[in-house]
Amino acid sequence: MSDLLRGRTGEWELVIGLEVHAQVIADAKLFSGAATSFGAEPNEQVSFVDAGMPGMLPVLNETCVRQAVLTGLALNAEVNLQSVFARKNYFYPDMPQGYQISQYEEPIIGEGEIIIDLPGDETRTVGIERLHLEQDAGKSVHDRHPKKSYIDLNRSGVTLMEIVSKPDMRSAEQAAAYVTKLRAILRYIGSCDGNMQEGSLRCDANVSVRRLGEALGLRCEIKNLNSIRFMRQAIEYEAARQIEIIEDGGTVDQETRLFDSAKGETRSMRSKEDAHDYRYFPDPDLLPLRLSQDYVDALKQSLPELPEAKKQRFMQAFGLSAYDASVLVAERETADYFENVAEGRDPKLAANWVISELFGRLNRGEIPLAESPVSAASLGGLIDLISDDTISGRIAKDVFTEMFDTGRAAADIVEEKGLRQVTDTGALEATVEKIMADNPDRVADYRGGNQKLVGWFMGQIMKASQGKANPQMVNELLRKKLAE
C-alpha cells in the first residue's frame, strides 16, 4: 500500500513526528502537594508553589518519577540513571513562575520504540526519541469577559510526560495508529488515563512534505490536537497546504500552527520571533535526579504483559487474526474480559462474540466495558449453550439481546422462553415432510436440478420451528428426503 500523496506535479511523501503530552496518574502535582483531579472549581487545587508565590520551592513527587520510568520501560527505552530538570523561560499569564520546569538536555528516558498496527494486518515500528517529565501550565479562559482573560491555575504544576517520536510516520493513518497504540500502553501500565476529552492526552504534530528521495522539508508544528480525529484532519489539511505552496513555487515557513476544528483547517499562530528563546538552564532549585539500577530493574519486573506481547500471544495461543487480536488487546480490561470468556471455550467463537456482539452493543450505548450488563462469565455461559447445541447461533443472538437488556443469565432465558434447539429426529422429520408436502412444485423443481432451493426449504423449516430446529440436522434430513 502506498502512502504517497499525489500533487499536481508529482508524488509527495508526508513525514510526521508526534509529541504527545500525557498527564501522569498521580494524586498530587509534580512539585507540590495540591490535587490533580479533573473538574475542580477555579484555583481550588493550587498551592503557593503552583501560584509562583515568592520563596516557594519545588519538591519532587516520587510517584511521578516511577510512572515515567515504567512508561520508558514499556516503550523499550533506555532509562537514564541521571536526569536533570531545567527551566524553560517564557512569560505567559497562566505560567506563574515565568518558567516551566521541564527536562531538556538530560531527559529521564532516552530512545525506544512502538510497534503500531495498520490495516491489512500490517505493522510498523516507530522510534521514540525521548520521554521527559515536565509541569503543565494553568488555563486561560477567554470567553468570560470581552477585554479580559481569566486565569485558573488548577492545572499549573500537574505532571506531564512529553513523549517525542522520531519522524517515522508517513500518513495520518499511521499517526492515528501510533497515538492509539501509545495510549493503550500508557493505560496498560496505569501511567496515564489517556482521556483526550479531559486533556489528559494531547498531541502536537510536526508535519513536513518532500518529494521522494529528497531531504526533509521545513516542518510546521500543529499544536494541541485533542482528539485522534482532529489530528488526522489537521495532518491531512496541513500536508495538502504544504504541497500546494511548494507546487506554486513558494516555500513553507517553519512555524507553529493551530487547528481550527470548526473550519477543519490549520492557521498560523501569530507568535513573536523572540518567543522562541527559552533560555533553558538547569533548575537551581532541583538537584539532578539520580536513579539506581536496582530501582529500574525492580520496576521492570513489575511491568504487566504489554499490548504487543499480548497480541502475539492471542494470535499464537488462540489462533486469532492480527486484527481481532489487536482489537482485543487495545485495553487491558478488554483483553482480560476476553480471556475470561475464552477460558475453556472455543477462542475464535469467544473473540467473535466479544468483538461483534458485545462491543457492538456497548459502543451503540456508549457504555464502558466495566459497566457491561453482561459479565464475562455470563457471556461464557451463552457460548457454552451454543457449543453444546442447546441453542443455535441465530437464537443465541436473541438471547444475548435479552441478556444485555435484563442482565439475566443465558440458561434462564432459554429455559423460560423454551428456546432449546429441537434435536429430536422424529419431530424434525415430521416438520421437513410437512414443508415438502406443502410445496410439491418446489420439490419437483429441486429434483429437476435447482439445487439452490435447499436454502429456501431451510428457511421455511426454521421459520416453522421458530428458529429452534437444529440447522445442521435439518440440513442433513432435508437433503436426504429431497434426494429420495
Binding site: 508565590m53 515568592p54 520563596g55 516557594m56 537551581p284 532549585d285
Partner: protein, 235 residues
C-alpha cells in the same frame, strides 16, 4: 547597672531563664531602642504589636518552665523572609502590597525556639547589592562614622538593615541572607559577627529567592557565641 540592650544574646537568654527580667521588659527596651535609632532607616516595617504578643507568650512559656533556645529574644528579620500576615517587600517596589499567607521555614524555626519579632529590616532590592543603596525604601545608614567626619556611611549589603540595627543595639540579633557576601560584608562594615552557613544548612523555603544555587540564610549577632546559638535555632 547594665542596659538590657547591651546584653549579648547569650546573656539575655540566661537573664530570662534566670528570672532577672522578663521577655516583655527586654522587648520593651528594644522597641524603645529601635525608636532611638530610627534615623538609620534599618526597618522597612516595625512590628511592635507582634513583638509584645510574642514576648508575652515567651514569658508564659518561661512561667511553665518551657521555652526554646531563644525564648524571649527580640530579633529583627531581613525583609526577604516571608512572615505570615506581615507585608514582605524584598526592598522592592514590585512587591507593593504583598502580604505572604505563609511563614518561611527559618522564621518558623526561630519562633519555635521562642524568638520575638521586632520588625522587617531594610535591604538592597532583592538582596542585589553591597551597600544597601538599591532599596526602594531608601538607604540604610551605618551607625559607624569615620573619626572626625560625620559623613553617612553605607552599612554594606544586602543585609544592611539587619547589620546596622544589631550594631546600633536596636535588636539582639537579626537574620540575614548571603548570596555572595550579603551577611559577612555588612557584618564587617558594622563591626558585628556575620555567619553564612554551608549552602543548604538553613532551608530556603519561604525566603524570597535571588540566586537559588547561592542563597543561604544566617545570623547577624554581636558575638560568635550568639551566632552559634542563633544558627542552631534557624537551621
Amino acid at each position: 547597672m547594665v542596659r538590657l540592650t547591651d546584653l549579648t544574646l547569650a546573656q539575655a537568654r540566661d537573664g530570662i531563664v534566670g528570672g532577672e527580667f522578663s521577655a516583655q521588659e527586654l522587648t520593651e527596651a528594644y522597641l524603645t531602642a529601635m525608636g532611638a535609632v530610627r534615623s538609620l532607616n534599618c526597618f522597612i516595617r516595625e512590628t511592635p504589636d507582634v513583638a509584645m504578643a510574642m514576648a508575652t507568650a515567651a514569658d508564659d512559656r518561661r512561667a511553665r518552665g518551657e521555652g526554646g533556645a531563644m525564648n524571649g529574644i527580640p530579633i529583627a528579620i531581613k525583609d526577604l523572609f516571608c512572615t505570615k500576615g506581615v507585608p514582605a517587600t524584598a526592598g522592592s517596589h514590585i512587591l507593593d502590597g504583598f502580604t505572604p499567607p505563609y511563614e518561611s521555614t527559618v522564621t518558623h524555626n526561630l519562633w519555635e525556639a521562642g524568638a520575638v519579632m521586632l520588625g522587617k529590616t531594610n535591604l538592597d532590592e532583592f538582596a542585589m547589592g553591597s551597600s544597601n543603596m538599591t532599596s526602594y525604601f531608601g538607604p540604610v545608614t551605618n551607625p559607624w562614622q569615620r573619626t572626625g567626619d560625620d559623613a553617612k556611611l553605607v552599612p554594606g549589603g544586602s543585609s544592611g538593615g539587619s547589620a546596622a540595627i544589631v550594631a546600633a543595639h536596636g535588636a539582639v540579633a537579626a537574620t540575614g541572607t548571603d548570596t555572595g557576601g550579603s551577611i559577612r560584608q555588612p557584618g564587617s562594615f558594622c563591626g558585628i559577627v556575620g555567619m553564612k552557613p554551608t549552602y543548604g544548612r538553613c532551608s530556603r523555603w519561604g525566603t524570597i529567592a535571588f540566586a537559588s544555587s547561592l542563597d543561604q540564610a544566617g545570623p547577624l549577632t554581636r558575638t560568635v557565641r550568639d551566632a552559634a546559638i542563633m544558627l542552631g535555632a534557624m537551621a
